[in-house]
């Protein structure tokens, strides 16, 4: 089985290479449509036209677009994504310093979305053929209509502004030390042995993680419910009933296991979308992750940084898809035979 998984991952990696090449080329072309001159932007406003022209040549902006892309690609393969125009730092290191916070947020949100999705899906399913079914169904559609950025604002308003119960800016309280060892604040807080920092980080994580989790759980609920419906048509459910198992045992021990597989596939797709949804939630909660970096880069037309971040999002999404597919393979015994 390990061999099958390894094969799948190898195949996925091979398929990812052309996709990443095309994506990076597309990114490059789209960003060059901009009417901004990176040379002029990286010089002080007092620079003369001659100086700007010299800078253009130094940056290779006078060369044809294809050649510029090849130069960028060559540098990127050597780990050099260029220098951010606004921050004056390596784009690659900027991304690396903000990515862990975003991964932490996305992971926490996914756990919440999976928990709510599982609970909600079972609830929706157990309400079938009752008067509540259409009400619950309607409710799930209304839930589906609240995107993550609206949840972010609503939760911020209710729990932050009105109830004043939870913090809603940043990742830890400003008066506490902000450790930077791995970049994952929860892990770092434990590494330096400061439980107060850990607790503060947890509190700061609650609202943004719930905003994302709530936005993505209805889709999981609805798919789990419809896969449970499909599974209940199978003979073995009837068989289990004849064996005298309770409905509860049938649902949790037999049906859920098989209905979980299609749900897992969807959850994987959702996780990819959720990961990019962190951008808006980070913006709303001033969370120091890659999303806020992207917003800064986009607002300032910081081309090297946009390019590096855009590519990072792609890589993360492709990796998530690969991980989910491998999980599917591991969990589904039918696919194990070769």
């Amino acid at each position: 089985m390990l061999a099958t998984v390894a094969k799948l991952i190898a195949r996925r990696l091979l398929a990812a290479i052309p996709i990443l090449l095309i994506v990076s080329a597309l990114l490059f072309c789209v960003l060059r449509l901009l009417p901004v001159d990176p040379a002029a932007m990286s010089l002080p406003p007092t620079a003369t036209i001659v100086q700007i022209e010299a800078k253009r040549q130094e940056m290779g902006l006078d060369k044809p677009l294809a050649q510029q892309y090849l130069i960028w690609l060559h540098d990127a393969l050597h780990g050099d994504f260029g220098r951010s125009i606004v921050f004056g730092r390596e784009a690659g290191s900027l991304v690396a310093s903000t990515l862990p916070a975003t991964i932490e947020l996305a992971a926490a949100a996914m756990i919440i979305a999976a928990g709510l999705g599982l609970g909600g899906g079972l609830l929706l399913f157990s309400l079938r053929d009752t008067w509540f079914e259409s009400v619950a169904d309607l409710g799930s559609i209304l839930l589906l209509s609240i995107p993550e950025f609206l949840w972010g604002l609503i939760l911020l308003f209710v729990f932050g502004v009105v109830l004043n119960a939870l913090p809603f800016t940043g990742e830890v309280s400003p008066n506490l030390p902000q450790p930077h060892i791995t970049g994952f604040i929860l892990i770092d807080a434990l590494l330096i042995g400061r439980l107060d920092v850990f607790w503060s980080a947890c509190q700061h994580l609650i609202l943004p993680a719930f905003a994302l989790g709530l936005a993505f759980s209805p889709a999981i609920m609805r798919v789990l419910r419809s896969s449970l419906f499909d599974v209940y048509h199978e003979d073995y459910i009837q068989q289990a009933r004849l064996r005298g198992l309770s409905e509860r045992q049938i649902l949790l021990r037999h049906a859920l296991k098989n209905a979980a597989l299609p749900t897992l596939t969807l959850a994987g797709v959702q996780f990819g979308i959720l990961f990019s949804g962190t951008l808006l939630v980070e913006l709303i909660y001033s969370y120091p992750g890659m999303g806020n970096l992207m917003i800064d880069a986009v607002r300032n037309a910081d081309l090297p940084l946009i390019q590096a971040i855009g590519l990072t999002y792609c890589i993360v999404v492709l990796s998530i898809n690969t991980i989910v597919d491998s999980l599917y393979l591991v969990l589904n015994p039918k696919l194990r035979v070769r």
Binding site: I141, I146, P147, F157, V223, L266, L318
Partner: protein, 285 residues
């Protein structure tokens, strides 16, 4: 097809959804008549006026004013126009591109199908929010750019789902019969395949409108949307965030407007899916 449309119109869910969409559309069309003020008119003498039901309100401004003294009600109504224009044109555009490519891929198969499939793969490896932000940086702000960005991002939603439907329909005997009768490929697709995929297409269109409303709000919220001279719900939210303690209603009203519109389109899509009996996979968003 006509029978199933009649079916849809008898479903309470579809009727309620149509009513909700109609209400937003009414605001969008007649906002020029309905709005008591010009949405861009600033009255710096009465900024952050609370709505009529709160104390200290001004009867001139039914839903209060924002931080620049602009009438919130008028801005909400004009925001509906922006949202509906984007929803309608962007989703139609995405539908046209997506369904043309889906029909070509599903009908002809082979290398064309493979190429279009890989194109969708490349597109889908980009998270939609990120792709639309990057496109907006490249295209610049404005209503037409927002529409273009949504079309360029979301055509894959139609292409992916429709392609498999076309594949199923094309295998039917009546499609082969049409070819034997001497129909050209074009005639076969338009007269035989398209009518069979139309229910799914309509359902997807309704769901895409909900997505377009959200994306427009997100882009305006980030400040890369329709531009400052046009009222948009996302922009109202971004403005209201600064004064959330003084005037919470400025934040809550546009949030509700977005929710109402998105829910209307989602309900409509769900109702149509049930009544038109389209084999739409449950993909959530």
């Amino acid at each position: 097809m006509i029978g199933s449309v009649g079916n849809s119109l008898r479903s309470p869910r579809v009727l309620i959804a149509l009513g909700m969409v109609g209400a937003v559309a009414f605001c969008a069309i007649f906002c020029g008549v309905l709005a008591p003020h010009d949405p861009a008119d600033q009255n710096l003498l009465s900024i952050l006026t609370p709505p009529a039901w709160a104390s200290g309100s001004d009867p001139q401004y039914l839903l209060g004013t924002d931080s620049l003294g602009r009438d919130v009600l008028s801005r909400l109504l004009y925001g509906a126009r922006t949202a509906m224009i984007v929803a309608l044109i962007a989703s139609l555009g995405a539908m046209v591109i997506g369904s043309i490519l889906a029909h070509i891929a599903g009908y002809f198969g082979g290398i064309v199908d493979w190429l279009i499939g890989r194109l969708v793969d490349v597109w889908m490896s980009f998270p939609p929010v990120i792709l639309s932000l990057i496109l907006m940086v490249g295209l610049g702000i404005g209503l037409d750019r927002v529409i273009l960005a949504i079309v360029l991002v979301d055509w894959t939603r139609f292409c992916r789902v429709l392609r498999s439907e076309v594949l199923v329909v094309t295998r039917n005997d009546y499609v082969a019969a049409a070819r034997l009768l001497g129909f050209t490929h074009w005639q076969t697709i338009v007269r035989e395949v398209l009518p069979a995929t139309l229910p799914l297409l309509i359902t997807l269109l309704s769901l895409e409108m909900a997505i377009a409303v959200v994306v427009e709000a997100i882009l305006s919220f980030v400040g890369l949307g329709v531009g400052p001279d046009q009222a948009a719900w996302g922009q109202m939210i971004a403005d209201a965030r600064q004064n959330v303690y003084q005037s919470p209603w400025n934040l809550l009203l546009p949030i509700f407007a977005i929710f109402f519109t998105v829910a209307a389109f989602n309900l409509l899509g769900d109702g149509l899916r049930r009544t038109l009996d389209a084999r739409l996979a449950e993909t959530g968003h």
